[in-house]
Amino acid sequence: MEYSLPIRVRWDVDFQGRSGRAKRIARQIREASPLHVELRIEGEKGISEIPAIFTELHKCNPRIEVTAPLSPEAVAAARRGYPMMDFLWEVSARESFRRLLPSGADAISFVPGEENLAYLPDVLEEFADSETRTLHLPNINAVRALALKGHVPIPRPDRLREAGHRISALRIRLEGKKLVAHDYFLWRILRGAFPDEAAERVEFSGCQAASALAHVDWEGNVYPCDSLPIRLGNLQEATFEKIWNAPARSRIHEAIRSVPASCEPCEQREGCLSGCRGLAYYVSGTMDAPDPCCPEKPAPASK
């Protein structure tokens, strides 16, 4: 499928108390007419921007999904009841989240990386006992991780396997619940353990970076995806259309469409579609490389 502009935009609204001119960035995003906007709110700065962001974004009638911290301020913001805006509550491995969830919370989000993947079984157990219906497991946000830590904590295939063994041994029931795993290899593990709940990946049909998907950071910088830290432009300096129609984005799109040489003979390719090309690029410096989480290939040397 071809798109004139991205249909899904992920926006990291704030970072360590900083954000750009949120209303201006929201207007630029709105002018791209995305069908789905995913907002990531880190703290009070981001929470304070929600009303202005909503005022702009709702003019193009997208579905809006807000991933927010489990804080009283964020819960209060969610209670205002913005139409077409769903809240996902970010949970960590450090503390139990059930007692912190607001009443009626429908979805939670946990980002499994190298440093916290071992806690995923615990998160699944608590999810099973909670009232929430959906657990989102997004990929690592490489743009944010680089800004915060200087590296991207990508889980190694052996750690994924270990987590898979522990997950398979869990004695939990997830009837009526849903697991949304962005990473293909993690999804495969979860589907093995919970075939109905992990279901089919209708939302993930291969890498959508630089085509259906775009990422915007807290300063308005545009990237093909939050896992592919190649800056394309800035929404405080240029329109989304101008950034998206520039040659840089097209070149990345073409590189993603081609199959990495090492994936070509692999029988699993029709399922994984070469996995996350952004993380492959981060680890190896080229998009002609396998996903670093792929268990079929030897792990490349990490940066």
Partner: protein
């Protein structure tokens, strides 16, 4: 029969591609494979070609099947009866996907959206 869109479907026209498809249609070139309108429902993404898009944008809960077919036939220079049959077939197809309800058929007055 008056079709109504499922409000859970979000959609947009792909502007440059829509114009390109019309340009090809006027020149009698192949345009059927171009996706000119993108829809999203429950996370799944779909595209409609030029004809599908022109039908979809005319579904507003007021326009009847006859009115929509008449406009489509006029737009593309097709026979009216054949067009109505084709438009009905298209509407039934997207009704099965849960994108529209076809009010005016025998059955419940309130459209029941299918989970997709």
């Amino acid at each position: 029969m008056i079709p109504k869109r499922n409000p859970e479907v979000v959609w947009r026209l792909e502007k440059g591609i829509h114009e390109m498809a019309w340009d090809k249609a006027r020149k009698d070139e192949d345009y059927e494979d171009l996706g000119v309108l993108t829809l999203m429902i429950q996370g799944a993404i779909h595209q409609l070609n030029l004809v599908g898009a022109e039908i979809w944008t005319r579904i507003n809960g007021v326009n009847s099947l006859e009115k929509i077919s008449g406009e489509i036939a006029s737009l593309f220079g097709w026979e009216k009866e054949e067009t109505e049959e084709a438009v009905l077939g298209f509407l039934k197809g997207i009704e099965e996907r849960g994108w529209v309800a076809l009010a005016g058929k025998a059955g419940p007055a309130t459209p029941k959206w299918k989970a997709h």
